[in-house]
Symmetry: C2
């Protein structure tokens, strides 16, 4: 996972992972791609990053997670942003993030599709807490408080989820 | 304007405003509304904000700007966020932000529609600089460096622009 999203799994988290995997299933794929084309303006800022960029032309990666398409729309490492990062992530049905936590706020905006959030909202740095399950639907937003253990699972039968992840990079 | 987006117009900025207004026009309205319904989960975090929220149910405001619909998806004042803010803004054709600057990074993601960005990218705290004009199209992203004077103008003839604004609240 990129930048400040390294996996901090402990033995306790691995135990939780086994519990949570019980809920995972396999579904059909339907990948939605926006295919609008335009000419991007090529003026650049002081970091050499164009002021305006076509999201379709940005590099994708999976970071080894099956069914994940990740685009860093605005990143600290890639683009020199100091305060925020913006990601666009697409999960195929059945795809999920690892169980993880990090020392920054996250806001998700679900553009399309449905899924499930597992959140141990009472977790602290030493104890992951007990996960709660939240259904996630299109045109919703959810947030992850600092250091709360969480996992996002895409379980949609027909579609997929696009998530816009917003975070401050604390590294 | 909400939170850290107060207008810091100086006399110099007012002069720029008059220049930029030459480019403004009036176009037909076409307002796009996502009307998906679902039952929001009502678990709340430590600030009393539900973990999952339906964006359609969030309050809208115009802040006195004709043609603007503003939704604070995640806000410091409204929701207790410490590091980031997320806004969803819709501009009717011809609508524009004020010319302004602020002491935080901003990242915009244009979901739909076209418009124009005016950016004085060489501005410093005392001098607004000379504005450059950038065409903005659907599925693009643009960013505003800290303290750069800018204005976003919606000039689409047929559609509208939805922008997701991401910023850190420095107040």
């Amino acid at each position: 996972m990129p930048d400040c999203c390294e996996n901090n799994q402990s033995i306790q988290l691995q135990r939780l992972s086994k519990l949570w995997q019980i809920n995972m299933g396999f579904f059909h794929y339907l990948v939605f791609l926006i295919a609008l084309l335009f000419f991007a303006t090529v003026e650049v800022n002081s970091h050499g990053v164009p002021i305006v960029r076509n999201i379709n032309e940005l590099a994708q990666d999976s970071y080894g997670i099956p069914g994940l398409s990740h685009i860093t729309v605005a990143g600290s490492v890639l683009h020199g942003f100091k305060e925020v990062e913006v990601w666009l992530e697409t999960f195929a049905p059945g795809a999920a993030t690892p169980i993880h936590r990090h020392s920054c706020e996250e806001v998700f905006v679900v553009l399309k599709g449905t899924g499930t959030l597992y959140l141990a909202s009472n977790s602290d740095p030493k104890h992951p807490g007990s996960p709660q399950e939240f259904p996630i639907l299109s045109n919703s937003t959810f947030h992850i408080p600092v250091n709360d253990v969480h996992q996002a699972l895409q379980a949609d039968k027909e579609g997929m989820t696009q998530r816009k992840v917003v975070r401050k990079d604390n590294k």
